[in-house]
Subunit: 358 residues, 2 copies
């Protein structure tokens, strides 16, 4: 039997991906021109599907780049002249912050300990911050920032762009895009696709910022600068040859998620998260790592192990369940992805297998 | 019957790709961790295969990025402090040149008309040029620069880095990597893979240059800066999640090409190019576009059509052959890719179909 992947990325494929991949090969999708009407129809369909799935307003552009990590760089290059502010509470939020320094921006941060999160009232944003960067779901620690905290931050800082890394949570959180200026994710997490595509969503305020930087002669990059991405997006094309196959698969999976029901998909994520946290809380082998329930991610669930984690991972693998190792190697931890690709039944099976550990 | 793609990218899949893709799904390649020994083995095998296929010396690193277009940006950011020099003779060499300006380098160029090429003795490289950029195969016009011209340029400019865009030719040309400091390509051209992966090859002189720029506090980018790519390459990893599936497929196709025989593969490319050029030369409907035989590309073959190109493309498509339209829309042209994925027999079939046109 094939193992079931509960890894936080690359992760289990969404159940329909294999069939779509076969159809893509039958239809020669890897060979079609990215300047053809066939490609433009794929891009447009993926865009419209994402708009429906994520409740995007019509003023937001949707761009396809190499990875979410690339977006860290692009959004800093294109939307920050001087200063960005980063909420740092794990490895990925820290790298996003470090990118700002590498790109010679004034990088400000507020830190929380590994496993801790942020709440709107407790943020201390310095003056003159152009972009506030949230790593909404810190994949390394399993800490999520609530959408309310993000929305409240916008209300308190209307002049700043609110940029949200939703790499290991989208399409689960429901954002109010009146209060989020840019969102991005990779497809190999909760969308259940092979890695190799980043999706960057940005509104016209981001575009205006990029245009302003360009008019000042500031270097906004070359390959994927926002003004260029946007110009090609208007005709559903990309500046260079993109990962056409992955965009095709993303479109298909988004349509499948919509057909399944986006509410149902989110309700099931909630249900599976409750099942997993309940099990971990009552287990004698595991402890939920993130103590504050308001900061516990529903899509990446992290637990401390009371025994060395490595043999636990190995035993589970032998039973056909591949879960994530801890990101911080100085701790004995496991990480369990709770993405739409894995069903309630599969989570039950995983919990049964974990119950048998001793 | 499935059509045969003779498009210059995205192009026909190498014949073994479908089977490898099925095996990848059976083996859960899209779900494996990019921090696992399984991934490192794939990277190492792809690296060693490319070394053998391209005759790379041991001091060159092989890095996986989003696309060849991304490499234009990365190599300029990491290997040029002040000034680069570009041989410009078509749309892609021009964009590479324009990237240098966008990245605020002093961008110098020598231009040739569309359809013309360059010869070593005729290059006028200004003083103080750190990088000489060749678009070895100009996909828009079907003009190739000979490897001898590139090698001779190195001999005449030992202090400059020689950087070669071999997007639509690699692995066909045989370079002497004592005289080429960096080479890059996309996999959706002559490697016959789905788009979504760029391969960047660079030697230790490029690395030393990137290190020197960093030590001077110059912005070399963040996501894919060369020092970081190299550091991860040493353990056969990538800084962020790469297109694992595409690297897997690249490895498999490179092994298949080696098993087929790299000499045979290049000899067949020569043979197919002769067949195509001979046909075009004798045809009453087509004229070879690139007049100088020394500048005619063997991998992207461009012809003027004596009738409007569009109905020709349509008729060929109805017969099951998809060839490329001209890149310059002001001309009546066709482009025919001559990549390893299409066999001598398939080229014969295409020529037969083109012979029947009137």
């Amino acid at each position: 039997m094939k193992p079931i992947y509960f890894t936080p990325g690359p992760a289990a494929l969404y159940p329909t991906v294999e069939a779509h991949l076969h159809q893509a090969l039958r239809d020669n999708i890897p060979s079609i021109s990215h300047r053809s009407s066939q490609f433009r129809a794929i891009y447009q369909s993926a865009y419209e599907g994402l708009r429906e799935l994520l409740d995007l307003p019509t003023d937001m552009g949707v761009f396809f780049v190499g990875s979410a990590t690339e977006v860290w760089e692009r959004v800093l290059q294109n939307c920050v002249e001087q200063a960005s502010f980063h909420l740092v509470n794990g490895a990925f939020s820290r790298k996003f912050y470090e990118f700002a320094g590498l790109l010679q921006k004034q990088a400000h941060k507020q830190e929380a300990d590994f496993g801790k999160g942020f709440t709107a009232g407790e943020l201390h944003v310095p003056q003159g911050i152009e972009m506030i960067a949230f790593t909404q779901n810190e994949t390394s620690s399993g800490v999520a920032t609530s959408v309310e905290t993000i929305h409240d931050t916008k209300d308190a800082h209307l002049d700043s762009l609110i940029v949200v890394d939703a790499v290991s949570s989208a399409p689960y959180p429901i954002f109010d895009f009146a209060k989020v200026d840019s969102l991005f994710f990779s497809v190999q997490k909760a969308f259940g696709l092979p890695a190799g595509l980043g999706v960057w969503i940005a509104n016209e305020r981001c575009l205006a910022k990029a245009q302003a930087l360009e008019s000042k002669g500031i270097n906004t990059g070359a390959h994927h600068k926002l003004t260029n991405l946007w110009q090609f997006f208007k005709k559903f094309e990309t500046p260079a040859t993109p990962n056409v196959l992955s965009i095709y698969l993303l479109d298909k999976v988004v349509q499948d998620m919509l057909a399944y029901g986006k509410d149902k998909l989110r309700d099931e994520t909630d249900l599976k998260a409750i099942m997993l946290y309940d099990f971990l809380r009552e287990s004698e082998l595991f402890d939920v790592f993130v103590e504050n329930p308001e900061h516990q991610s529903n899509t990446v669930i992290v637990a401390n192990t009371r025994q060395p984690a490595s043999p636990i991972l190995k035993t589970l693998e032998e039973k056909g369940f591949i879960i994530g190792s801890g990101y911080d190697k100085s701790r004995e931890q496991i990480r369990i992805a709770n993405f739409p690709a894995t069903s309630v039944e599969q989570v039950e099976m995983l919990i049964d297998a974990m119950s048998e550990l001793s």
